[in-house]
């Protein structure tokens, strides 16, 4: 790993410490990684292993205590919060476990949000297209409360991809869904990812989902415990039984 400007995402010796009631607590300890353009990385690990903290740091939502991170070729430590926001707006997409749609806005307006924040004029048309792509073209005027969990996550996927981000961060995207719906969302996520040639960073407990990523990385107490490419090690083997259609195609590719 050099300066990381060639990678979609690059982290070097990233640590995060916080001050607790019993002294300093290390949440992440010198984590380094690189994800190439179009690549996909799963971050797995037990609760409290630092997965979410790492995701937040990589996406520029928070700043590391030490170490450097480069996102889409830009060093995050050189940017203030406003500049990082600008970077996220144009280059980054997000999918969350709890969908996180704004309840005041309908499906289409939720999808328009990243485009509008970026000041684009064709927001409505592109949002309609994106919703049609996730199969919700007929429901674009529904509010989040009128949609099921799976439908809400599909709206969230449309929102994540609508502005053509370089890199997508997904935090337990199937965690709040039943197995069947979750599998459907997983299929859609990877299909969209492929269509847009987006770099994907995925935090999950779901071994099946993790197995569909090209690489996976296991955290334990804030350190990288293991890193494996597709076809290596136990994660893939375990996932075999539950592999969906899309995954099978991908691993054959």
């Amino acid at each position: 790993m050099s300066d990381g400007t060639g990678s979609a995402l690059y982290a070097s010796e990233v640590s995060k410490t916080v001050d607790g009631p019993d002294g300093r607590l290390t949440i992440l300890d010198r984590v380094s990684l690189a994800v190439e353009r179009g690549d996909s990385l799963a971050i797995v690990g037990a609760s409290g292993s630092g997965k979410t903290t790492l995701l937040g740091l990589l996406a520029g939502l928070d700043r590391p205590s030490s170490g450097t991170i480069a996102l889409a070729g830009e060093r995050l430590d050189a940017l203030d919060e406003e500049a990082r926001a600008r970077l996220r707006r144009s280059r980054v997409g997000f999918v969350f476990q709890s969908f996180h749609l704004l309840p005041a806005l309908n499906a289409e307006e939720n999808v328009m949000l990243p485009l509008e924040l970026d000041g684009r004029d064709d927001a409505r048309e592109r949002a309609a297209d994106a919703l049609a792509r996730v199969g919700l073209g007929a429901r674009r005027h529904h509010y989040p409360a009128q949609l099921s969990g799976g439908e809400q996550q599909r709206v969230a996927l449309a929102r994540a991809f609508v502005h053509g981000p370089d890199i997508l961060f997904a935090d337990e995207p199937t965690g709040n869904l039943d197995q069947r719906t979750g599998a459907g969302i997983g299929d859609l996520l990877f299909a969209l990812n492929r269509e847009h040639a987006t770099t994907l960073v995925l935090v999950t407990h779901d071994a099946t989902l993790a197995a569909r990523c090209a690489r996976s990385l296991r955290l334990r107490e804030g350190r990288i415990e293991a890193s494996a490419a597709a076809g290596e090690g136990e994660t893939i083997g375990k996932a075999d039984g539950g592999m969906s259609e899309a995954t099978r195609r991908e691993s054959q590719a």
Partner: protein, 826 residues
């Protein structure tokens, strides 16, 4: 579990949450508003009552529109009482080509019997004094300034040159805070010699008595059956009662304004308590799981609330008492006799109101917490909905109704107010819903942050309506008082025709009529109108002693006991309209009388009834042959009773003139006053200025109390912000995550709150304009009145700015939430 320790610890940890802070602030405000108003009112009332003896000028007063028979004074002296003859009337003073309407008191040397008169001489030294010697007057500072004279100069009063012998520094009956005209004290002999007290003058005559209380009581008992017609006896107790009655009306308005603040604070408290209860419900479920009993949990919750309430109530009390002390100090010039000690009743009552508001509005959500299922620990969506507790939500309504009842002092007024509040609430609801529908339409056409901000309003519909209602209510009150009221008065005044009479001359003798007309013509006076005036007494209606149509009607009582005035004219005077019957003509059977509609209502009169009136020693039984309606604001001499001309001409009478004089006319009027010394001149512009001045004073007193309700309205806004703080924090973090920059978040917040302010302001302006139009049509009889839309628009803009600022201040920290919060919330 030890509830007290648990409550104290919880309060320490939870005070940083916004809802507890708003709860405490609302409580401080409610107690402060009630304490300030009630305490101040009680102190002013006490001061007025304590000075009642000084106000009437003695221990007993006999008052009459005519000079009192000498037998009364002789009897009083025989009984060893000190006596003082006094007459009081408005009159215009002239000096240096200037004129000034003054309240003139003419007295014999005995003045004052009670209290002290202190006069500053030409040397600037203050001395205790009695009424001035013949040929001189004392005038107060305002009179001297208005006339541009100093002590030692001459002024003209009642056609005579009199020397200003001193400046009044302190006089016994300066206790009336609403007395505004400058005051002059003259010698009674001068007034009599100048003809200022003759028949038809507006002078009130008084005989004041002082002595030990038994002698006073005995004299009062003797005098009552021996009083001449139209005379009245006033004891110190009567004066106190009158003062209380007069004061209670003004005070009622201030109390209601304070009450509005308390009720709006209650709404803020209810919002805070609900939020608090929602936050607590998981904790309660957990405690129940761990085996805490319901009683223990409730005790801990109530204790926590009480620990918050006690310091908040005390702080509110301190704030309220401090404020009223400030106002009291500022007003102490008006209330020299005010006792300095603080009454304890009103502050205690304010504390009780605070407790009632707190528990009335906070209890329902807290009591519901008692029924939280332990199972909620596992299932967050499990919300206890127990039927019997829904009744609890009547508690705030009951507390509100009780407060209105206590504040209004009568069930009828409380009912009217209750219906009024409900109507305003309903109107706000309907208007608010309509406006929200518009906002919804508009917001979908907007983009990005602007749309997101606006879309928040219809989404949190109930909260938006509540905030809008609270703000609109307080803004309406302010708009009506501050904008509509003054504009109506201005418009009413501007509506008067340019040659509306601005001077009255009274006490003119009939034989002077022709010469006065000549003089007025020479002075270029226009719209000259002269009418005869006879003063008499109402003896009977249809042969029976007169009774008021409605029992205890004060106006009817005044006409029955006091003096009635009648005039006559060949033709129906201007500004009069016949409603029934015919005006007098040759065919009218005499004596006949025409009555004004007010009398018809007061005494239940109809055509054909007979009124028996006594003028001097003549008694007339006149048949009612017509009923008139008078425009009382026409500034002419108008009369309730008009006799047929033939009957009237035979009565002893004087003349009343009204006319319009351009400019201030001081020089010709001074000459007029000199040549017609018996004439009393009244400057109507000065009277109007006095009215406006009084209204101005009342308005400014009321507006600081209404300021409390506006702050309470803002508190409702802040409480609603606190209630949605978590949601807002999360949404801000999400927008941050999606790449929104700070400016976009600020735009969203400003869009939301400016819109909220515009909603509230718009409703307030609509309500104020509607009220203004209703007042214009109903009370002021103005056609085509347009409320001052510019000023109202300014008010809306100010409201929007204020609300936007409060919203921005309330969400400033929220906007800085780290975007990591999005990942942390499952």
């Amino acid at each position: 579990m030890r509830p007290l320790a648990f409550a104290a610890r919880s309060l320490r940890r939870e005070f940083r949450h916004a809802e507890l802070a708003t709860l405490a602030m609302a409580l401080v405000l409610a107690v402060a508003a009630m304490a300030a108003v009630a305490t101040l009112a009680a102190r002013v009332e006490r001061a007025l009552v304590a000075s009642a003896a000084e106000l009437i000028g003695g221990d007993l007063a006999l008052g009459s529109p005519r000079a009192l028979p000498t037998g009364l004074a002789e009897e009083a002296q025989r009984r060893g009482l000190a006596i003082n003859h006094l007459a009081q009337f408005p009159s215009v003073l002239f000096a240096n080509e200037r004129s000034q309407l003054c309240e003139v008191r003419a007295s014999d040397a005995a003045f004052p019997l009670r209290g002290a008169l202190s006069v500053r001489g030409a040397d600037g030294v203050e001395r205790d004094a009695h009424a001035p010697p013949p040929g001189s007057i004392y005038a107060d500072h305002a009179a001297l300034v208005a006339l541009g004279v100093a002590v030692g100069a001459n002024v003209q009063l009642g056609g005579r040159e009199l020397a200003v012998a001193g400046e009044i520094a302190k006089a016994p009956d300066s206790g009336n805070p609403f007395r505004i005209a400058p005051r002059v004290l003259m010698n009674l002999g001068d007034a009599e010699a100048g003809g200022l007290l003759g028949a038809g003058s507006r002078a009130g005559h008084r005989l004041l008595l002082a002595g030990d209380s038994d002698a006073i009581a005995a004299f009062a008992a003797w005098a009552k059956p021996n009083l001449p017609a139209g005379a009245r006896i006033t004891t110190v107790q009567d004066a106190q009662q009158n003062l209380r009655n007069a004061f209670e009306r003004g005070e009622g308005f201030l109390r209601l304004a304070a009450l509005l603040a308390a009720l709006l604070s209650g709404v803020a408290i209810a919002l805070g308590a609900q939020r608090f209860a929602r936050r607590k419900s998981e904790e309660v479920a957990l405690l129940r799981c761990l085996g805490a009993r319901r009683g223990e949990i409730l005790a801990a919750l109530l204790l926590e609330l009480a620990l918050l309430a006690v310091p908040a109530c005390l702080a509110g009390l301190a704030l309220g008492l401090g404020l009223q002390q400030l106002v009291f100090e500022l007003a102490s010039g008006l209330l020299p006799g005010a006792p300095p000690e603080l009454p304890w009743g009103p502050p205690l009552a304010a504390l009780l109101v605070g407790v009632a508001v707190l528990f009335g509005f906070a209890l329902p959500p807290l009591l519901r917490l008692r029924d939280v299922e332990p199972l909620r620990v596992f299932r967050h969506d499990l919300v206890a909905r127990v039927r019997r507790f829904d009744v609890l939500y009547l508690l705030p309504v009951a507390v509100g109704a009780l407060l209105v009842l206590v504040g209004a002092g009568s069930a009828r007024l409380a009912g009217t107010l209750g219906i009024g509040f409900a109507a305003v609430a309903l109107a706000t609801l309907v208007l608010g819903l309509a406006l929200l529908w518009c906002v919804r339409r508009v917001s979908t056409r907007l983009r990005g942050a602007l749309r997101f901000g606006l879309a928040n309003l219809p989404r949190r519909r109930a909260l938006t309506l509540l905030q809008t209602g609270a703000l609109a209510l307080s803004l309406t009150a302010l708009a009506v008082l501050g904008v509509i009221g003054p504009s109506l008065l201005e418009r009413w005044r501007a509506d008067l025709p340019p040659d509306t009479p601005n001077w009255f001359a009274i006490n003119l003798q009939p034989e002077q009529e022709a010469s006065l007309r000549e003089r007025l013509q020479a002075m270029d006076a226009s719209n000259v109108n002269l009418l005869p005036l006879a003063s008499g007494k109402l003896v009977a209606i249809n042969g029976h002693a007169p009774v008021a149509a409605e029992k205890g009607d004060r106006r009817a009582g005044d006409f029955i006991e006091g003096e009635v005035r009648a005039s006559w004219s060949d033709t129906l005077p201007e500004a009069n309209r016949l409603v029934q019957g015919r005006w007098f003509d040759a065919a009218t059977r005499r004596p006949a009388i025409s009555v004004e509609q007010v009398w018809v209502e007061l005494f239940d009169l109809k055509l054909g009834d007979t009124l028996t009136l006594r003028f001097g020693d003549r008694e007339i039984a006149a048949e009612v042959t017509s009923i008139r309606k008078v425009e009382w604001d026409s500034f002419r001499a108008n009369f309730f009773l008009m006799l047929d001309p033939a009957t009237g001409a035979e009565l002893p009478h004087s003349m009343v003139a009204s006319f319009h004089l351009a400019g201030d006319g001081a020089a010709p009027l001074a000459a007029l006053s000199r040549d017609f010394p018996n004439l009393s001149l009244i400057d109507l512009n000065a009277v109007l200025d006095r009215i406006r001045d009084i209204i101005g004073r009342v308005t400014s007193a009321a507006s600081w109390v209404l300021g409390f309700s506006l702050v309470a309205g803002m508190l409702v806004l802040l409480a609603a912000l606190a209630a949605t703080a978590d949601e807002r924090r999360f949404e801000a973090a999400l927008l941050r995550t999606l790449g929104a920059h700070g400016r976009q978040l600020a735009i969203a917040v400003l869009a939301e709150f400016v819109a909220l302010g515009l909603l509230a302001g718009g409703i307030a302006v609509a309500a104020a304009a509607a009220l203004g139009n209703a007042l214009a049509a109903g009370v002021f009889k103005l056609e085509g009145y347009t409320p001052p839309l510019g000023q109202l628009a300014l008010l809306v803009a100010a409201a929007a700015a204020l609300v936007a600022f409060a919203g921005w201040a309330g969400t400033r920290r929220i906007a800085r939430t780290s975007p990591m919060a999005v990942l942390r919330r499952a």
